[in-house]
């Protein structure tokens, strides 16, 4: 009984503290009501800069476009962007600056799963909406009220691969995954979802991110007689796997992950890339999409805008920031900068068609995508060919 009273007292105190903290945070943003401040944390330099750099550029471009169109509800938007350099500690200091110094109304980013997971507790405590651009399933599962994400999860990539396999009558697969966080997550999804599609994983192998040769692992896989091989990794490992599969004359189809969905992979693997099947975001194959595809127009516009502004090719990664910014734009409209209203509006976002796919957020889904966010492509003659569904 006594314990209960103390707990209740603590709760009341905590609540008071929270209200106070919230009011402390909010006062300056009301005072500086001339512009909506939106924070950005991206790994624009460091090992994950291939993700963070296009995301940062895209966010800057989008803010410019929104302001050129008159801002949100007549208010200008101001972006405050910090570089987390792929380092969770830097992401934490960036989020603290955004929350307490810059008093932003929402945050977009970070770019990778480790940097995102490092800051979610701060976000939940400060009650500011966050839209992450990272892929890890664990960011939005279990659901955290203030955390959303726009990147497709591995979960969906695996589902897309398995759907194709099911259609081709593939029953037994061997998997070879890279020994890092990306490969581990892929392996867990591949093994976890196999049963739902009537597929059996007969052999699991791994390779180091800088391995020069994977023939030993592939020989082992070959002797397990799978119907297909799935390789999960980011360059350059999967290209070595592709070359070794060809050298060993293993005569089963090779599937790769969305981690290698870039022209660089075809360049690295050369002839060995022929016939490889992989899931990818639609941006890689914009030109091949049917005219009726609802995303085609959006993709073409984003590609053209990005190319004219930065004079470099778009990547799907920048698209995560594109979708985050536009959905935030919609959510901030009519909210008057109230964070709870923005959060509620984000959560009720339905049928938003963006670069990455169609988003349908709900109280139980803060990623909002379906496996349709991926298309399956086959590499033919050094370029991508859409696989019929």
């Amino acid at each position: 009984m006594k314990q209960r009273k103390i707990n209740a007292a603590l709760l009341v105190m905590a609540f008071c503290g929270m209200v106070m903290a919230a009011s402390v945070i909010e006062t300056p943003s009301v005072l500086a009501a001339s512009a909506y401040k939106i924070g950005g944390i991206f790994d624009s330099t460091g090992p994950a800069s291939f993700l963070g750099d296009p995301e940062k550029k895209t966010m800057e471009m989008m803010v410019e476009q929104i302001n050129a169109a008159g801002g949100i509800d007549g208010q200008k938007v101001e972006a405050v962007i910090y570089d987390s350099e792929g380092d969770p500690a830097k992401a934490v200091s960036a989020v603290n600056k955004l929350l307490h110094k810059d008093n932003v109304i929402a945050i977009i980013g970070p770019s990778t799963t480790p940097t995102t997971l490092a800051i979610v507790n701060f976000i939940e405590k400060a009650r500011v909406p966050l839209i992450s651009c990272a892929a890890g399933v664990e960011i939005t599962s279990p659901i955290k009220p203030w955390v959303f994400k726009t990147a497709q999860s591995d979960l969906l990539a695996v589902a897309a691969i398995y759907k194709t396999m099911q259609a081709k009558g593939i029953k037994k697969i061997g998997i070879i995954t890279v020994a890092n966080a990306f490969g581990e997550s892929g392996k867990n999804q591949l093994v976890g979802q196999a049963k739902d599609f009537g597929i059996e994983v007969v052999i699991k192998e791994s390779f180091g991110p800088n391995d020069t040769d994977t023939t030993a692992q592939l020989t082992k896989i070959k002797s397990a007689l799978p119907d297909a091989i799935v390789c999960w990794g980011t360059n350059p490992g999967p290209a070595v796997v592709a070359k070794n599969v060809k050298q060993l004359k293993i005569d089963v189809p090779l599937y790769q992950s969305h981690g290698v969905a870039s022209p660089k992979f075809i360049e690295l693997a050369g002839d060995a890339s022929e016939g490889i099947i992989l899931p990818t975001g639609k941006i890689l194959v914009t030109k091949l999409l049917a005219e009726t595809d609802p995303q085609k127009k959006i993709l073409e516009k984003y590609e053209a805008d990005y190319k004219t502004k930065f004079n470099s090719n778009v990547s799907g990664f920048g698209g995560y920031a594109y979708d985050a910014m536009l959905m935030l734009d919609n959510a901030v409209k009519g909210s008057g900068g109230d964070k709870e209203k923005i959060r509620a509006a984000l959560e009720s976002t339905k049928k938003y068609v963006g670069v990455t796919g169609e988003f349908n957020f709900s109280a139980t889904d803060h990623n909002g995508l379906s496996p349709d966010a991926f298309v399956m492509v086959e590499i033919k003659g050094g370029t991508w060919k859409l696989l019929d569904k």
Binding site: S206, N210, T212, D213, A216, L248, L268
Partner: protein
Amino acid sequence: MQEIIQYLFSGVTTGSIYAVIAVGLSMLYSSTELINFSHGEFVMLGAMGIVTLWVHLSLPLPLAFILTVAGVSVIGMLFERFAIRTAKKHQPITLVIITVGASILFRGLAMILWGKDPFSVPSFSKHESIEIAGAALVPQSLFIVVAAFILAGAIHLFFKQTLTGKAMVACAVNKKAAWLSGIPSERIGVLAFIISTGTGAAAGIFIAPITMSSYDMGTMLGLKGFCAAMIGGLGSLWGAFAGGILLGVLESLGAGLISSGLKDAIAFILLLLILYICPAGLFSAKVAKRF
């Protein structure tokens, strides 16, 4: 059976790579008593050199090969002149730390120069992989094994047959005595660096087609080469060579028969075991000294 042969093939291939790297390390140690932890970075520079000269500038292969080896040797020479010699009054451990620092510097410069993306190099010959007893052998593997033997053989002859080579050995045994008998020990030191980094570059060139070349490929290769040199016995040329092949084969058999997740662990566990049982290495006649 067929699998075992395949494991052996891939083991000998990777083993030959380790062997060439180990030979370069060991050779430098036996003439200057210095372990160069940036050796892997010179392998990387060799691979990146061939990417630039052969793939991007499309020079003929032999010319690109010579230019790359020469260029990397010059870098090795400058490294000796400006980083090692200026600090040579200090303890050997200081010099070792300098080489560790240099490896970070080389990696950083390579990242700025070539970017973070890996590069692919085509095979030296267009032949299909050869099938022996059901196991596939890539022609590039043959190139690597042959190149490893030629390099090790050439260094062996150099030490045993030429006056300069013998002078180099003399410098290693006793620098002061060598100097007293008229051997220019400083020039010999530079030469040792040039040869060692040159073989490193050659290793990089030969492995580029079977692996991918990127700025961070050197670290692991350097470590494995060091492992191989220790297994064989530092300072022993053929010991380092055999250590490399042994390491490659055991790694490949370990990955195939036990678990691929343990591939790197096997190499390092092996190193610990061998250093515990026989601190001088498997093939070293000499007793381990110094340090």
